[in-house]
């Protein structure tokens, strides 16, 4: 077929040729992400910040400033208004909403129902036929719980992965995999800091899926490393690692491409509601694929692995 033989396995790629340089780039990217996060912060959605969000559609074109003016007298605290309609929207299957102008209005205060009725009546008076597509209101009590649960979830995911890989492999593998995960999570937070995409509950879900995916990739490489370490006992670790990455490389590319195809369709056609989520996933797949080779394997190389994988000692990793 067309793509067959695209990845010729006899042609070995030297993955570690520029690995030192890439390590510095990774470290730099992590540093920049942390700086971006601490300077700019994340654009938290109301899930984490508390407040009320209105998604409205208007039959005729109106300006963001019109809405701002209407609500300015209401004394509702910090109000942010953005237009959700973008050129990609025309590709979306949601024919119903295409002709409309869609706005997202976020109001800082909640105080239960009062905000909702107030904003509703103000907007209905000034923009007749305005439609309220979605209204979400999260109190501060719940939002702080959601923040806590989100952080706990990411923490538990990383911790349980650490334990799983430690049980299945050696501690060096576990450390490499987990550092790769932390690399992915930090870079994702960094890109969200700079692009100002809304960071909400679904992004935390995306982070966890990225952790799952990145790990998936790393584990496949490690699995092959373990196998090759047993088969080529005298080969230097660098060569074993490079061989293993080459062995699994076509699989890595295949799976990344199929996943990206599905995610790309979701990003372009899945509608505004999950665009942030799919963006995080696409980014995660790219970063995760990179990190499983250039972070996880590199760390394995730096830590050096015990080489006497005798059959007797093989209880160190449960085998299938």
């Amino acid at each position: 077929m067309l793509l067959r033989g695209l990845f010729n396995q006899s042609n070995e790629i030297q993955f570690f040729r520029f690995s030192n340089l890439l390590s510095y780039i990774s470290l730099g990217a992590i540093g920049i992400s942390i700086i971006l996060f601490s300077v700019l912060g994340l654009n938290y959605g109301i899930d984490f910040r508390g407040g009320t969000m209105f998604m409205v559609s208007t039959p005729e074109k109106i300006m963001v400033s019109n809405i701002r003016y209407t609500l300015s007298s209401s004394n509702l605290g910090d109000i942010s208004i953005s237009q959700a309609t973008n050129p990609l929207e025309t590709l979306s299957a949601g024919a119903l909403l295409n002709s409309d102008n869609i706005f997202i209005i976020k109001v800082e205060k909640t105080e239960g129902i009062n905000v909702e009725t107030r904003v509703k009546s103000l907007l209905q008076n000034s923009v007749p036929n305005i439609k309220f597509l979605q209204i979400e209101s999260v109190g501060s009590k719940v939002s702080s719980e959601l923040v806590r649960n989100g952080m706990l979830a990411v923490f538990f995911a990383v911790a349980s992965v650490l334990i799983y890989i430690w049980l299945r492999f050696e501690w060096q593998f576990a450390l490499g995999a987990v550092l790769a995960l932390i690399h992915d999570v930090i870079l994702t937070i960094g890109i969200f800091s700079i692009l100002r995409y809304e960071f909400n509950l679904s992004i935390v879900a995306a982070l966890l899926t990225i952790i799952g995916y990145s790990l998936n990739d790393t584990v496949v490489v490690f699995d092959r490393v373990r196998e090759n370490l047993r088969n080529f006992k005298s080969l230097p670790l660098l060569k074993v690692l490079n061989m293993s990455i080459n062995n699994t490389f076509s699989r890595t590319i295949m799976t990344s491409v199929t996943t990206l195809l599905a995610l790309g369709a979701l990003y372009l056609l899945g509608g505004d509601v999950i665009r942030g989520f799919t963006f995080a996933m696409i980014w995660g797949v790219l970063v995760g694929t990179y990190s499983s080779i250039f972070v996880a394997a590199k760390i394995l190389l730096m830590l050096d692995v015990k080489r006497n994988w005798d059959e007797k000692d093989s209880k160190a990793g449960t085998q299938f």
Partner: protein, 545 residues
């Protein structure tokens, strides 16, 4: 040559058939939905077919999602208020020995009573101890069996400290929540909305989900009211709220006449718990009103009270506001009455619902409120469907281009995989949300991973010049370890998401988790079956993977 046991083919075929059968109603969603609404209409969907549909989440069908917290602390405080009036009147009889009696702390979860003569603290404790056996604290409505001591009584110098035992507090909390849950359910049901879900969450919270509701305002108006109805004795009326208030009295504003304040006896003559029925009706002037009936014991109390107090006013208090204060004209014996106020027809209707379903034992606070309009839901379904189809087709084409015939085997398994996920969702009654659709699309991309791992291994074996049969066999064997590791790790993420996620996110973890299981099944068993059949019947000399 591969061995093909009849059992293996039979099992896989059977699973496929079941999956098709249970997933099929979802492809005719509208028709089956109509049939579920009207079971007699057999022409639309055949009776022998299963009619289990994937439950759509609120983000897809529109509706209101509401997280409430029941303020149980208020109930405990109120119990102390009642206890204090009782304890006080009992202690006052021993005033000579005890000296002045004063309640010094009204907040928190303790009742603190200061005694004038410190040496008589023990006497006071003995008096209060008598209330431990009093079931009055928990009226019949609470139905909790009081077997152990309810109160914990201790003292420090001249102060007696009374609190509920931890056990009792938990029991009380649970009763309050269960009762609230029941009342919320009745109130929501009375609005006639379709399939509301009302669940307890954690210790004090209630999650209400009402699909198909476009606005939360009516629901809040209905749920937000505690609907605590009491009939109280009126001590004084004035336009000024500065009454000289005694301990057992309370100042309450009026709903009707602005600026009018009532001084009432704190303990009601009769409370709303004594109501057996309430209906919207009209008063003698043709204005909307609510008529009600008392149960026998409340009717007796109310009858006696009206007999003794002809000519004086009494107050009907709803949620700490006097809604009307008629003067008793005659002895009301029948146990029925009418509440007049400045109601609109809708208000009298709502009040009747509230009174009928009973008062909420405690106030509720709305913590989280999400309303999704039906248009947005429909839009999300369409967008999700399109994305799933386009993404799926792209993956199918890519697999075919990459692996040829083996790619087609994997593709058939992939299609089957999606059908299996749909079938499992229907059977398990899991809810499909928009992130859930994303989960399915993501599984499409990741499901082929197991096959890719196997195919790449087979390729390697072929390059090593193994025989056709051995390449396939070793390919599957060697790939298994990676497949297991790769899927376990993703499963860990899915499980953690399930426990920490809420609402739509939970839906994502469900489809992701199910997708992992089904993709293993379809990649390892279904694709393998195709490959084995192919090798058995075509006996290829060379494998082109």
């Amino acid at each position: 040559m591969p061995t093909l046991s009849f059992f293996r083919i039979f099992l896989i075929t059977l699973t496929c058939l079941f999956a098709f059968l249970f997933a099929s109603p979802n492809f005719f969603y509208g028709t089956v939905d109509k049939k579920l609404d009207d079971p007699s209409n057999s022409s639309s969907w055949p009776n022998f077919m299963p009619s289990t549909l994937v439950k759509l989440g609120l983000d897809l069908r529109g509706g209101v999602y509401m997280l409430l917290e029941v303020k149980t602390d208020d109930v405990i405080r109120e119990k102390f208020d009642f206890l204090w009036t009782d304890v006080r009147s009992s202690l006052i009889k021993k005033r000579k020995e005890l000296g002045a009696i004063r309640r010094i702390d009204t907040s928190g979860d303790q009742l603190q009573i200061q005694i004038g003569n410190p040496e008589s603290v023990n006497l006071a404790k003995i008096e209060i101890e008598k209330f431990n056996s009093s079931t009055e604290l928990f009226s019949s409505r609470w139905s909790g069996s009081v077997t152990r001591d309810v109160l914990e009584i201790s003292s420090a110098e001249n102060v007696v400290l009374i609190s509920f035992s931890e056990e009792q507090k938990i029991a009380l909390e649970k009763q309050v929540i269960d009762q609230s849950l029941e009342i919320i359910r009745r109130r929501v049901d009375e609005t006639g909305t379709r399939e509301p879900t009302i669940q307890k969450q954690g210790r004090k919270r209630v999650l209400v989900q009402v699909p198909g509701l476009g606005s939360s305002e009516e629901l809040i108006a209905l749920l937000g009211k505690t609907a605590k109805l009491t009939f109280n004795e009126v001590v004084a009326v004035d336009t000024n709220s500065n009454f000289p208030t005694k301990l057992d009295e309370i100042v309450v504003g009026s709903e009707q006449n602005n600026g009018l304040f009532f001084l009432l006896k704190k303990r009601p003559v009769v409370s709303g718990e004594g109501l057996t029925n309430a209906q919207p009706s009209f008063d003698e002037n043709g204005l909307p009103a609510v008529s009600f009936n008392f149960n026998p014991s409340a009717a007796l109390k109310f009858g006696n009270y009206t007999k003794d107090n002809i000519g004086s006013p009494f107050a009907i208090v709803l949620d700490d506001v006097v809604i009307s204060a008629p003067t008793i004209r005659s002895h009301i014996a029948g146990g029925s009455g009418i509440i007049t106020g400045s109601f609109s027809v809708e208000e009298s209707n709502r009040l009747a619902i509230l009174l009928r379903s009973g008062a909420l034992p405690a106030e509720i606070e709305v913590l989280e409120l999400r309303t999704i309009g039906p248009e947005l839901g429909r839009d999300s379904i369409n967008a999700g469907k399109l994305a799933a189809i386009v993404g799926g087709v792209l993956v199918l084409i890519f697999m075919w281009l990459s692996y040829g015939l083996f790619g087609i085997f994997a593709n058939i398994a992939l299609i089957f995989n999606i059908i299996l996920v749909m079938a499992l969702l229907s059977i398990l009654g899991a809810t499909l949300t928009l992130p859930g659709i994303a989960g399915i699309v993501l599984t499409i991309g990741m499901a082929v991973d197991a096959n890719v791992l196997v195919f790449e291994r087979i390729k390697e074996e072929i390059n090593r010049n193994s025989s056709v049969y051995n390449s396939v066999k070793t390919g599957y064997e060697k790939a298994l370890s990676s497949i297991v590791d790769a899927n376990v790790t993703t499963m860990i993420a899915a499980v953690i998401l399930f426990f920490f996620g809420s609402g739509p996110i939970k839906g994502f973890s469900v489809t992701l988790g199910l997708g992992i299981i089904t993709s293993l099944f379809s990649a390892l068993l279904v694709t393998r079956l195709f490959i084995d059949l192919y090798m058995l019947f075509y006996k290829p000399k060379v494998l082109r993977v």
